[in-house]
Amino acid sequence: MSNHIRRRPPLAALVTLTAVATVLAGCGTVDNSKGGGGGTSGGGQVTLWTHNAGNPQELGVVNQIVSDFNASQTKFKVVVQAFPQASYNDAVVAAATAKKLPCLLDIDAPNVPNWAYAGYLAPLDLPQDLVSKNLPSTLGNYQGKLYSIGYYDAALGLFAHKSALEAAGARVATIDKPYTADEFNTLLSKIKSAAKYQTAFDLGTGDTGTEWWTYGYSPFLQSFGGDLIDRSTYQTAKGVINGDKALAWASWFQGLVKQGYTPAKSSPDAFADFVNGKSAMVWSGIWNSSNLDKVKDGVVMPPPDFGTGAKIGGGSWQWGVSSGCNKQDGALEYLKFSLNTKYLSQFAQKQSVIPATEDAAAITPGWQSGGPKRFFLDLSKKDALIRPPTPGYPFLTTTFAKAAQDIIAGGEPKKILDQAASDIDENLKSNDNYGF
């Protein structure tokens, strides 16, 4: 027993030391992340969360804006915390559940109604003349109020080898005159029979991220005349996702695989295959427009018009203010400051994105009217259709993505789409139509 007494003091000291160290470490991290909640009104720290850790260009512009804002006034100090994109949404939902959201945060456009409905976001009280300059697809409106505003937008495009088009005797489609459905199908069969390329038209099905499937492929459905949900009432998807027009889309979509124009599962980087000459055309977006320069005869075109006009997706990352923020005036000040033309131009210069305002496009090289990059801005203005702005969007997107995957895998389109419609309607009913 005397051994124990001699050994006890060092052990007790070690345990106490560990406990104290743990408590201090815990307090330390809590301080850093809890910036938005504490402090009195009339100034202080404003936390900002963003999804672009790992994207040094975009994060660099955000940091620049923040340091400029902090230097321009002494009342508020914005502190940036960057997250990797893959875990960002989960981090925000977890923080919202714990009521520890930051003051400023960016949100992927289709999630804005969902988070506004849940009470995470506060309506933005920005001057109308500032807001009206933005492309409509960069604004997050829900129930008549503005909840988010973006600095840029993205767009989809049909990239092609010009030599393949010429060999098939087809014209290059323009924004004013996209391909018709027949024209496009003829083009595909001619490219396939020429047998110069392994794949006539790579849809990019190797990307298993759910949002790509909805963002990339629902515009085709919308061009045929269908949609994910009835946008006049937002209370049902019957007849819209499983009506005749939707079935026409499904059989065209499935036909691409059945007739061998596109692989059922492309490689994870379909654009790399296009650059390497494996495919004649690829369905991708503006984020690959810089890679297009690697292709000698690469052109980018709008998608075909399947009946109701060519359609592409719209809405990228947008910025909002959380409802629990007690420095709303500081957050709004920052937003107003950041919507400066020179910053919007910076975003478009450092990344392949569409600048949100005409003024920004005018001062960004290549984006002026007639410039080489102008195509995406004009395309977005004419053909962009944002994903349905409803709080039920997470359910819509997972259901549509699964339906599209099942259709590509060769399932029976009518059964798949009917099941999707009934699943969506059931979800809407159990959520009281999300307030619509």
Binding site: A118, S267, P394, T398, A409
Partner: protein, 314 residues
């Protein structure tokens, strides 16, 4: 062998010591014991038992992940919806399919490897390490690599073509409804067999040498030695391996999530994958809790049946 004889020899000494301790020493020991166990018990309670109980309660409500209105009780609505859902039945079927094939194949193959490794030769350590390396590799990394290997022009098809002189062409493994699940089974067995091989190995090495010598003397051949000495001696190991492989097989998730997202036409969706998809991506927490509750009941039933079948019959 020496372990058993040493254990029997220690018993009288321990009993002698037990009578010599006082009540105060008992209480002191008990208190120290409780203090030492307390952190683990608290962690288990807070991070395991309480969430599990909450999950079971949520299954009877209409809770959402994100919602302005609070959840309220809805009784058995989630369960009736579950039983009407064709994807749920497909998940159930696939989960059982995977377990029924993987459990015997993986444990049998692991036993075979353990028997091969259990010889006193140079180089067995090398092979043991080689077989064990896939186990310590993250299953997500393994899934990504094998996804590339299973592509139509990937490594697996190239090997098949070269080895069979272009007779066997191979197929688009992960995109055919018939071959997607077997492909995932093959990869899962490859990844986990090393772990169970090591467990079998430890079981093999506890079988006393004398029994093998006795069998030699009785004139037994290799198969008879296996059947009458090795197999009975592995009973405890067998039970443990059976239960752990079954539970691991029933909770198949990571491979599906990375490789096939539920697979071509629901051919690889499993219960855990469905629970994660509906609960997290579709934000229907209560529905996912219902799936989890049914999964729990299933695993419990299977484990109890296995325990009953492998119980001590004396």
């Amino acid at each position: 062998m020496s372990i058993q004889t040493a254990a029997t020899a220690a018993e009288p000494t321990i009993q002698a010591k037990a009578g010599a301790t006082t009540t105060r020493a008992h209480r002191h020991e008990a208190r120290s014991g409780i203090l030492m166990v307390a952190p683990a018990v608290v962690l288990l309670l807070v991070f395991f038992f309480i969430p599990v109980v909450l999950c079971f309660l949520l299954a009877f409500t209409n809770a959402r992940l994100i919602s302005p209105t609070p959840a309220h009780l809805t009784g058995l609505d989630n369960f009736t919806r579950l039983f009407r859902d064709p994807v749920f039945w497909a998940s159930l079927r696939n989960t059982f399919y995977f377990a029924v094939v993987v459990v015997p194949l993986q444990s049998g193959f692991a036993l075979l490897l353990a028997l091969l490794i259990n010889v006193r030769m140079r180089g067995t350590n090398f092979f043991r390490t080689m077989y064990f390396i896939p186990v310590v590799t993250s299953i997500v990394v393994v899934s990504i690599l094998w996804r590339f290997m299973y592509q139509p022009h990937g490594l697996i098809n190239s090997i098949l073509q070269t080895a069979s002189f272009n007779v066997v062409q191979g197929t688009d493994w992960l995109n055919n409804t018939a071959s997607a699940m077997p492909a995932i089974m093959f990869m899962s067995i490859w990844q986990a067999v090393g772990f169970h091989m090591v467990i079998w190995l430890s079981g093999l090495q506890t079988i006393p040498e004398e029994r093998y010598e006795a069998a030699e003397l009785d004139g037994a051949n290799t198969w008879e030695k296996f059947r009458y000495v090795t197999w009975p001696g592995l009973r405890a190991t067998r039970t443990f391996i059976l239960v752990t492989i079954t539970i691991a097989a029933l909770s198949l998730f990571a491979q599906i999530n990375v490789m096939t997202d539920g697979g071509p036409l629901n051919s690889t969706t499993t219960m855990v994958y469905q629970a994660v998809r509906t609960g997290y991506r579709q934000q229907e927490t209560a529905y996912a809790s219902a799936i989890s509750l049914i999964f729990f009941a299933l695993v419990l039933a299977v484990s109890l049946v296995q325990r009953y079948l492998t119980r001590d019959k004396d």
